[in-house]
């Protein structure tokens, strides 16, 4: 059975040295995940998730081009068929050079992003060359341990880890989460927890990704300018929100360049529709003629 690394969770336990009461004992145990006492764990999970319907669903994408990296995402969270929020922040600003995106389980993303003290890393992370990491299903703590290992490599070998090496490290980390459906990208690589590791210039993750890929693949050139790339990313997210019910809200686009990231735009996709499909005003005579036809 795989061992999930929860060392980042130890916090409350250190407060209770030398106190023996039963109440405190229950609270002082290092926080661990309670597992239900059932013979069929997977079946139980499936039923529980169906019943509880945790918030999820998304479209995120990222691609490399001449001027750096473009990252974009929607902002919708859905619980089953109900839209629970249209204003979820799916692109997380880890430090001035690093962005993280989330797809899949919102609670998973938020929890791991928080509990591994990403703030502590803000000082440590000068890993500019890995300027984009995507963690659907929210296991961003993998990203942190990955970043630590990249830094260790750098310190041990006196030079930065290559992107190839970084993606291999990530693939190995994800392997211990086999079967849990995790996906990551260390551009230009895509890695998942089934052992897949693919090289490419562009990736999209989430329920709306097939639609985003259509736009992204047909419009992509390596030598795009920043404006063209931003427009491509925005259009890809917009088209995904148009066709995928679980994606929507506000399409945010970020650019990561040699000096760090910058948010380029945040547009409501409902309004983007009218930008891409403007209503042409018709001549009054034309309308009258059409109305007169039997």
């Amino acid at each position: 059975m795989m061992k999930l690394d929860f060392s980042g969770l130890e916090s409350a336990s250190s407060h209770f040295h030398g106190v023996d009461s039963e109440l405190v004992e229950g609270l002082s145990r290092a926080p661990s995940f309670e597992i239900p006492n059932t013979t069929n764990f997977d079946g139980f999970q499936k039923e529980a998730i169906q019943m509880v319907k945790p918030a999820k669903g998304t479209t995120t994408l990222a691609f490399i081009f001449k001027e750096g990296v473009m990252v974009a995402a929607d902002s919708r969270a859905s619980m089953g068929g109900y839209i629970s929020s249209q204003s979820v922040k799916k692109i997380i600003e880890i430090n001035p050079y690093m962005l993280g995106t989330m797809a899949g389980g919102a609670a998973d993303c938020q929890f791991w992003h928080r509990n591994l003290g990403i703030k502590a890393l803000k000082k440590e992370c000068e890993i500019e060359y890995i300027n984009f990491l995507t963690y659907p299903m929210g296991e961003e703590f993998i990203g942190i341990s990955h970043m630590f290992r990249c830094r260790l490599h750098e310190l041990a070998n006196r030079r930065r880890i290559s992107v190839t090496g970084a993606s291999k490290l990530l693939a190995n980390i994800l392997y211990s989460y086999r079967g849990m459906g995790l996906v990551g990208t260390v551009l230009p690589y895509y890695v998942d927890s089934e052992g897949g590791r693919l090289k490419g210039n562009r990736f999209s993750v989430g329920s709306g990704s097939p639609y985003a890929y259509g736009v992204l693949d047909s419009g992509y050139h390596y030598d795009m300018s920043v404006e063209e790339a931003a427009e491509l990313a925005r259009r890809a997210i917009y088209q995904a929100t148009f066709r995928d019910g679980a994606s929507g809200g506000v399409a945010s686009v970020y650019h990561v360049g040699p000096n760090g990231w910058k948010k380029l735009s945040g547009d409501d996709v409902g309004e983007l529709y009218y930008k891409y499909n403007p209503i042409t005003p018709r001549m009054v005579e034309q309308e009258m003629a059409e109305a007169a036809e039997p």
Partner: protein
Amino acid sequence: MTKQQANWSPYDNNGGSCVAIAGADYCVIAADTRMSTGYNILTREYSKITKLADKCMMASSGFQADVKALQKLLAARHLIYQHQHNKQMSCPAMAQLLSNTLYYKRFFPYYSFNVLGGLDSEGKGCVYTYDAVGSYERVGYSSQGSGSTLIMPFLDNQLKSPSPLLLPAQDAVTPLSESEAVDLVKTVFASATERDIYTGDKLEIVVVNAEGIRSEYMDLRKD
């Protein structure tokens, strides 16, 4: 050999709806008081709202046994916090504690749909809305529970403000006064009661503002 299905579920749904609305210097939290199981009403006078901290109230619908367990845990953690820090937990701090507490049961979730309301450290109203496994967001208003699909669209119609994600940033205005917000809540529950069988009997409204906490009750349809 045929697959055996579980004939006992650890969960039940006791129904009910909760709403919270945040204003410039107040917060309104409301919930109905009906507790049901299946088609039966267990009681007409069950409070779903609990005080977690001085300026922080939580309203929860779903499985009330899980809600009760959650409330006890949060109260205990709050007491420890008070002993260690010599002050009450602020609403944003309690919001994060609730999120973590829910997530620790990620693989055996609390069947509890929560809405947290109160005043932040600047005295402004804040509302946090949750899913059952702990994802949360600070919002201007929210509803959870069996009537939420009926209530939320109406609140969106009356209270929706531009998304904080838009660039260039647009101003989010909270136009309602405290009494207008309370009236809105009463209207909203009266409507939800008409069309949701699990919502009704009585409405409990709690208003948190700089002066303190006050409660109000209103009768709803009992059918």
